[in-house]
């Protein structure tokens, strides 16, 4: 106990006993003790100036934090539908067998814990899993026994890496087996660019001129919502407050998306340059990159990039000699919560609380991080901003469509020959992308991830843009061999797992949607159940508090719209008034086993 006390004191002291750094504190406690022990809640609270229940509130919120003792090694198998379709379930079974445990259990020797986790951003090299912070890709059941043997012999997961990936994945600070899979480099982000030319030009302009250029370029948020970046910066700049903040949303949690992973690996400087330009434009001195826990393997590399930029006077005081322009960035690690990609949740998390979203009046541009004006932008948006600063708004807006300027990075995965990153001008038709990705047998494409739309061949002629098919980057391809409603149900499970539970419609409605969908899939549903799904889905969409809830019924609503025949084939009304979903044989099964006799009334 005393070692625990002193260790916790040490950790809290490292963060100045600052309550706002609670995320970092509990993450370090977890690393030190392989969990955050319940008996430590009070101690942490005492040394971080908060209450015990606040610590519990944070620890119980994030899926990578645990109050139960875990192994030195925690294996988190990606449970995304793409991974499952590529053999993830078989990999899971083999893992259980090799470790002789089930999921959410720890081996008898206490060394290895096995869990499932939501999409880890490796859908182009699925199935994949995390072993602590190390990512292992392209798994097959055959590879598992050797991996487990190796881990038993040496718990350092880095020893599992036999071959590193391309580009900066091979950097000594990364050493990941992850591949970039850049299939198409577009003109804005993935082509060669002049490093920091945009920042240099920016510093010759006034902040107002910089914002005006971003406005003129038509740049809209690349995370999916599509808010005008220039307007966001202008509002942040004009909002009263001395401290302003630039936040980078690198919590790429939308299943099937992995473009930010590639940007952080190959365009880290461009991201930081874009953040610095934003800081100059809005008058901020502090930036935060909110990095999802799944990308922890990039942390040291990014820290090093930041150090290099500090040394080159690209971060720090009087940047590039610009008197009075001071800006620096820190990384805030996430801990496994999709909702933290929602900007107000992300801010809550940066402030060291559970990642509940907050009300968007006031908006973060007025009162965000630390109740100060804050611009939260996507990784890709910052890259675009830096390129606009160099090449000019006219160059940028000449690419794409009238309302959707520039290019979009798409993460294509699933049933296609060439999964990976495609940087395409907005307006590119979905059918073109499918062709380039080598997807020739396509029943359904999920555009924008579970929170987006599931579309069928009738929509393949539409263009990728904010006005037609909007996406934050996720593009999951499903062939005719796949059960579309299995995908839908998996997506609803995802939302059930990831709902923060703050508001009623999202907390309860998604559970009800998932259950009723399950009933329909089993052939126990009626036409009335489809109306039920539609009406319930609309209520969840309409009344939920944040973007997660408002988009969570989309898998159900978009398949009801675009794949109605699939549903209709499953439901039949027999008119008897007997509910098909009630199965008397199943209902008496348990009692029958206890009593050792069968039902006298109902026989199978």
């Amino acid at each position: 106990m005393s070692t625990m006390t002193s260790k916790i004191e040490q950790i809290c002291a490292r963060y100045d006993h600052d309550r706002a750094r609670l995320m970092d504190i509990v993450r370090e406690v977890q690393e030190a003790f392989d969990h955050v022990p319940r008996e430590a809640f009070g101690l942490i609270a005492e040394h971080a100036g908060t209450h015990r229940v606040e610590v519990e509130s944070v620890v119980s919120f994030y899926s990578f934090l645990s109050d139960k003792k875990q192994g030195d090694v925690v294996i988190r198998l990606c449970d995304d539908i793409i991974d499952r379709f590529q053999g993830g379930d078989e990999v899971g079974e083999t893992l259980c067998k090799a470790l002789n445990i089930n999921f959410d259990e720890t081996t008898a020797d206490g060394n290895i814990t096995l869990e499932k986790t939501a999409c880890i951003g490796m859908s182009d090299q699925a199935p994949a899993m995390m072993v602590n912070d190390t990512v292992i890709t392209n798994l097959t059941p055959e590879k598992i026994p050797a991996i487990i043997e190796q881990l038993k012999a040496n718990p350092d997961p880095q020893t599992l890496i036999t071959e590193v990936g391309d580009g900066n994945n091979a950097d000594p600070l990364v050493q990941a087996m992850v591949k970039n899979n850049i299939c198409e480099a577009g003109p804005v982000i993935l082509s060669d660019y002049r490093k920091d030319a945009g920042l240099r030009k920016t510093l010759t302009m006034t902040p107002e001129e910089v914002i005006e250029d971003v406005k003129t370029s038509g740049l809209r948020g690349r995370g999916g919502a599509g808010f005008l970046t220039g307007l966001k910066w202008a509002l942040t700049r004009s909002s009263p407050g001395t401290d302003k903040y630039v936040l980078c949303n690198a919590d790429e949690g939308e299943p099937g998306t992995f473009k930010d992973r590639v940007l952080l690996t190959e365009r880290a400087d461009l991201v930081l340059e874009g953040m610095t330009i934003a800081a100059y434009a809005i008058g901020a001195e502090t930036g935060i990159i909110y990095l999802r826990a799944e990308y922890a393997y990039l942390r040291a590399f990014l820290e090093d990039k930041m150090n290099q930029r500090r040394a080159a006077n690209l971060l720090g005081n009087n940047i590039l000699g610009k008197e009075g322009f001071n800006f620096d960035v820190r990384i805030q690690m996430g801990a496994g919560a999709y909702v933290c990609g929602e900007e107000t949740s992300l801010i809550s998390s940066c402030e060291g609380t559970r990642g509940d979203p907050t009300d968007r009046t006031p908006f973060p541009v007025v009162k965000g991080y630390m109740v100060s004006p804050t611009a939260v932008n996507n990784v890709e948006s910052y890259c675009c901003a830096a390129r606009i600063a160099d090449m000019g708004p006219g160059w940028f807006s000449s690419i794409g469509t009238g309302k959707s300027t520039g290019t979009k990075l798409l993460s294509v995965c699933g049933d296609c020959a060439r999964p990976g990153i495609y940087e395409v001008p907005f307006g590119t038709r979905l059918s073109d992308i499918l062709e380039r990705a080598g997807a020739d047998d396509v029943a359904c494409v999920c555009v924008g991830g579970p929170s987006g739309q599931m579309v069928g061949p009738a929509q393949f002629g539409l263009g990728i843009s904010y006005e037609e098919l909007s996406t934050g980057g996720s593009m999951m391809v499903f062939s005719n061999q796949r059960d579309i409603l299995e995908v839908t149900e998996a997506f609803m499970e995802f939302f059930v797992d990831e709902s923060c539970g703050y508001c009623v419609p999202c907390r309860v409605g998604n559970v009800l949607l998932k259950n009723r969908l399950e009933r329909v899939r089993k052939g126990e549903g009626s036409q009335g159940d489809l109306d039920y799904l539609q009406r319930l889905g609309e209520s969840v969409k309409y009344t939920s508090r944040c973007g997660l809830g408002q988009t969570s019924p989309n898998p159900v609503l978009s398949t009801l719209k675009n794949f109605r025949p699939v549903y209709n084939a499953l439901v039949k009304d027999n008119g008897s008034g007997m509910n098909k979903s009630f199965n008397i044989m199943k209902a008496v099964e348990e009692a029958s086993a206890i009593a050792g006799r069968r039902s006298e009334i109902f026989h199978a």
Partner: protein
């Protein structure tokens, strides 16, 4: 013209809802003018004898016999009404729904503080209906057309609903008559 027939049953209930039905007092004479009673605990008819206009269901389904009876009602009644909280939401019996079934049986027959059962025997007569894994509100087993909540629904509530139905008026309960307790 023959009078519409009404059947009623108490499944996993306490007969309190039927007591409430008797609480309509002298209005029962008017009711008899309006309807004929078929199967019901009130007249002790054991099975529905002919097509009924209305079936009143008290109680949810806690065992297979309840399901059997409810099926008979659904097959033979034009309109089914869940009357009372047990039919509507499981009620007191549904408090067992998050306790394992075996624990419930042991508590009832062997381990309960008021149980005297020195041999520790759990009755196993085949006549005893098997319990369901949980208590189901009636509408999870069959289609139910109307719900009259309350524990029990008051006599006035029952009277208002029945007379509305029998005179082809919409069943709309005034505020004071819609209660869950």
């Amino acid at each position: 013209m023959s009078k519409p027939r009404v059947a009623s049953t108490s499944l996993a209930g306490c007969f309190g809802c039927h007591m409430s039905l008797l609480d309509i007092d002298d209005r029962i004479l008017q009711l008899i003018e309006l309807v004929d009673f078929d199967r019901s605990p009130i007249d002790d008819i054991k099975h529905i004898s002919q097509r009924c206009a209305i079936g009143l269901i008290e109680g949810g389904c806690c065992n297979e016999e309840n399901v059997h009876v409810l099926h008979e009602f659904r097959k033979n009644c034009d309109i089914l009404i869940s009357f009372g909280d047990c039919a509507t939401m499981g009620g007191i019996p549904a408090m067992r729904n998050n306790i394992p079934l075996e624990e419930c049986i042991n508590e009832a027959y062997r381990d309960g503080p008021t149980v005297y059962n020195p041999q520790g025997i759990t009755p196993q007569d085949p006549e005893i209906p098997l319990l369901l894994d949980k208590v189901y509100p009636a509408h999870e087993v069959v289609k139910i057309d109307y719900f009259l909540p309350g524990c029990p629904p008051s006599a006035d509530t029952l009277w208002a609903a029945l007379t509305a139905l029998l005179t082809n008026q919409p069943v709309e309960l005034p505020y004071e008559l819609l209660k869950y307790d």
